[in-house]
Amino acid sequence: MLEAEGVAEGLAERLARAAHRSFVSFQREAAADGGSSRSWDTQLSERVVRRAWLAGAWVETRSGDQSELSALFGQDYQTARSRLEPLARGADPLFTAVGSSWTLVNVEAAFDYGSRHVTQLDLGALEETLQRVLGEVDPALEMPPSERWLAGVEAGCNCSRRI
């Protein structure tokens, strides 16, 4: 419908996703290019929120994620979580939490707000996290190629690998 009214495809898709969340999200997404200030701007000026934004997504039942986020946040995960929880609720949430999975509602829009507040200390902490997480060698690679599928079975189908 939006595309029929002349709204570009990408923007129409973004607006439709926002409308699916709430009317307020739709209004703020539509006004974003016009410089309207969302609550995200204020929220991301706070260190723990900003570092959660930099992490982007995680699974809180995964012990590696929790310990790494504690290091990145500079505080115990449960303490940080109690601060982040309200940001996953309301009319225009920054995060969405489904079960144990947390993720940003809109990575690109969040970048526009978060990048205004990011500090050198944030980047230093994030760099350490990045090198540990992305630098982790998949233990399945220690197995012969013909047996690697078993690693997925043993992990309860950690279906992250693709053809």
């Binding site: 590696g64 990575v107 090198q131 630098g135 013909s146 992990a155 690998r161 053809i163």
Partner: protein, 232 residues
């Protein structure tokens, strides 16, 4: 079992890709966010090249296209380093040979997607073709249809080139390919001629860069000019 979730890993790589793609004008401390992203990618892939078994490269498979977008120059430098020598570390990325048994996944496909993403950029397509040509040379073959020769051919497809550069640049790049990787260039040119049925999918595209043009079309004249040049 991996210590960290795939969600965290991909999200962190997305942050680096956004910093690299959109952070050029954002200053933090002494440099830009793009500079910071470039440093991260260079350091990580240097570590990957230092691992002779290629396990770190293979472990990065689900984020390679994002790392390529984050820092194209550093990514291509490290791919080039990983393709050096008689037994290049990136040969370990091909794991879909007959001995793979039940397994049909192979991390080389992610490397191809990363290079296909960069091929859309006029600034990077030249180096991408060199890397793909080298990958064609070291490809041991395997069960998957997704091979370096397909990615390389797609860049030059007369009807639907998987790059943003025009016919003159594409022909110039093919000339370089003929000079430096003659056998590979020959395979590509044969595949581009009419009558050769090309089976494949559209190449991977960038998420945060504007390298891929909207509604790219090839005129009949341009199509015929490319075919004529290939025949000559």
């Amino acid at each position: 079992v991996q210590l960290f979730s795939s969600d965290l890993k991909k999200a962190l790589a997305t942050t680096v890709a956004l910093a690299g793609g959109r952070g050029e004008g954002i200053r933090v401390g002494g440099g830009s966010l793009s500079d910071w992203a470039a440093g991260i990618v260079a350091q990580l892939l240097r570590r990957a090249n230092a691992d002779a078994e290629g396990q770190l490269w293979a472990s990065l498979d689900d984020v390679l296209p994002l790392l390529a977008e984050a820092a194209p120059n550093q990514f291509l430098d490290q791919v080039s380093a990983g393709l050096n020598g008689e037994d290049p570390v990136l040969r370990r990325m091909f794991t879909d040979d007959a001995s793979a048994g039940f397994t049909v996944a192979s991390p080389h496909t992610a490397l191809l997607w990363a290079l296909e993403t960069l091929a859309w950029s006029g600034d990077h397509v030249g180096l991408v073709t060199k890397s793909l040509a080298r990958l064609v040379e070291i490809d041991p073959g395997g069960k998957l249809a997704n091979r370096p020769i397909e990615s390389l051919t797609a860049i030059f497809l007369p009807q639907v080139p998987q790059t943003s550069v025009g016919i003159d640049r594409r022909l110039a790049i093919l000339d370089v390919l003929r000079r430096d990787h003659g056998a590979v260039a020959w395979q590509v040119m044969i595949r581009l001629l009419p009558g050769h049925s090309w089976v494949g999918t559209y190449a991977a595209a960038p998420r945060f860069r504007d390298w891929k043009p909207d509604g790219q079309t090839v005129s009949r004249a341009e199509y015929l000019a490319l075919i004529s040049a290939l025949v000559e």
